[in-house]
Symmetry: C2
Subunit: 235 residues, 2 copies
């Protein structure tokens, strides 16, 4: 009994189909979609289900519907680029080096800033959560355990910054990068090689030293980039 074996609902499937078409470029900004009646016929779904899907796409900034004129694909600058689905569709249709670079750049901006903020604003419980994640990393027996604890560590740091906007942003970025196994710089043999660097981040946050926390996280992020360049990236 797989935990998520429920077949996807129709409207969700339509959201995915149209989303991919738009983000993938098959439907360009300015293009008009077929009328709801027509499109529903083409996709073999009811107009009700189609409309629910269109509203969702509208909520993501991808399309705009107006009476008489119909629905049109909006310009890219209106797209909610930080929406998880939109990111996913970009991944599915254009996993280019440039796109990955954008994600990595965002990560490199957020994490050092978050570490600095965490050093200033973290409370005791949040520090404890970071410490627990660090312990789990130290005791990790294999790559999977390490990866899990590593993700928790970074998530805990973000949480300790006490800024929901920042957390939400990192959440999206990290999830997307996770899809490419690009979050942690995983050395082939010694997967724990970055443990000391993580300790420095933790220690700086513990001592409430924002500059040191920022620098330590910056170094970690730089290492990650160096590693990426070594392996030549993916796409």
């Amino acid at each position: 009994m797989p935990p998520d074996a429920s077949q996807p609902k129709v409207h969700r499937q339509v959201v995915d189909q149209l989303g991919r078409l738009i983000v993938g470029g098959s439907l360009a900004p300015g293009d008009a979609l077929p009328s709801e009646e027509l499109l529903a016929g083409q996709l073999v779904v009811s107009r009700s289900a189609l409309r629910e899907a269109m509203k969702v796409l509208g909520a993501k900034g991808l399309i705009e519907s107006r009476q008489k004129t119909g629905a049109r694909v909006r310009e890219r600058r209106f797209w909610h680029q930080l929406d998880a689905d939109v990111l996913g569709w970009r991944f599915a249709t254009m996993p280019t080096q440039a796109f990955i670079a954008e994600l990595v750049e965002m990560r490199e901006i957020i994490e050092p800033a978050a570490a600095a903020a965490a050093a200033q604003k973290r409370d005791r419980a949040q520090l404890a959560t970071i410490a627990a994640a660090y312990q789990a990393m130290a005791q990790a027996g294999d790559r999977d355990e390490w990866a899990k604890a590593d993700a928790e560590f970074h998530s805990a740091v973000l949480n300790a910054a006490n800024n929901e906007l920042m957390s939400s942003l990192f959440n999206v970025i990290a999830t997307a990068l996770h899809g490419f196994f690009l979050l942690s710089a995983r050395a082939s043999d010694d997967f724990k090689y970055s443990l000391p660097q993580h300790f420095k981040v933790y220690d700086a946050i513990r001592k409430r030293s924002a500059p040191r926390a920022r620098m330590a996280m910056q170094k970690m992020v730089d290492d990650s980039r160096r590693h990426l360049q070594h392996t030549g990236g993916i796409a």
Copy 2:
């Protein structure tokens, strides 16, 4: 003939109503919404319109619907905090100092990083756009002209960073801050006092000096914060 006098559609109104209730805390995470039939009756709308609204709220991470169980408010960590509507509802219901501080903090993280990236990646046309905005600032005759050109300048810098994720993020943050007139540090009498600082940003980007661009923007942002603290904030 006001440009946007069209009465808001029903499903949009429902999205707003429920969105405010949830973000405002009247409906807490974990709470169950009434069944669609009931809720439609309470709001005096058809089930169809209500469902379209619920799908939109689901797309924003606010609620989750399941058969038999009904719809429930999701935990805050799932909310799309960077969605323009969600930000708007937070504004409408909880314009607290803490929330504004989160927005300002995000801005302070993004803009210096964006200036640095722009210095490295901008092309000629993007530089020209920044220059044009700067010129408009220099020639601004009143506060409104200045504010408009100022917004264009910052937007142009973000655009020159050539990272759609960053642009999208800044767009949302800046729009929200604009709602509070908190984007630019507007001195009461000399509204052009930050012009030289803007020039430094432009000049560094022109000379492709990332460090100087970052520092110049950082200083601008710091000034803005200092000014905020002087005036004691708003909410």
